[in-house]
Symmetry: C2
Subunit: 94 residues, 2 copies
């Protein structure tokens, strides 16, 4: 019998602090134009949510690390972090 677990993952992908963020600079400058000159250091990243099926926490974490490194983040210029929370378990036939 195998137990299949489903996890909800929340993933943050942000530019490394040393990397310039032109989109963030543009938005901050737009805000200044609208009168919000009290905003500083605006930086834009990605926020990804997904469901992943895995046999346990360890496997889910390992696969998410792989997924972030291979697909969601560019490790040369971006950092990532994620959290998982189990949403349901299903007991399978094997």
């Amino acid at each position: 019998m195998s137990v299949k677990r489903k996890y909800r993952a929340k993933i943050w992908v942000t530019l490394r602090p040393s990397i310039l963020d032109p989109a963030g600079v543009a938005v901050q400058s737009g805000l200044k134009y609208l009168g919000y000159d009290n905003v500083e250091q605006l930086r834009i990243g990605k926020y990804i949510e997904l469901l992943i099926n895995a046999k346990d926490d360890r496997m889910a974490n390992q696969q998410l690390n792989d997924i972030c490194n291979r697909m969601l983040a560019n490790p040369v210029i971006e950092n990532y972090r994620f959290e998982i929370i189990e949403v349901e378990s299903q007991t399978g036939a094997f």
Copy 2:
């Protein structure tokens, strides 16, 4: 004498659940191609960090609501939420 407070804001902008996310579908399909067919319901949003100067929590929250509605999110198709945390206080001359 006025006190000027500085807050760090973390802002999440996500597509409303009823709105199709073509980028998320594309990434999920790319993951499937790489062998990760255990991923479902992948959706991509924005994560923004900024510093904002304001006289108190209430004013910082109000300005962030305005900023999200006017600039960071498209309220027709996106939801937003944010958290603020005070990072420093400065006592000014007035």
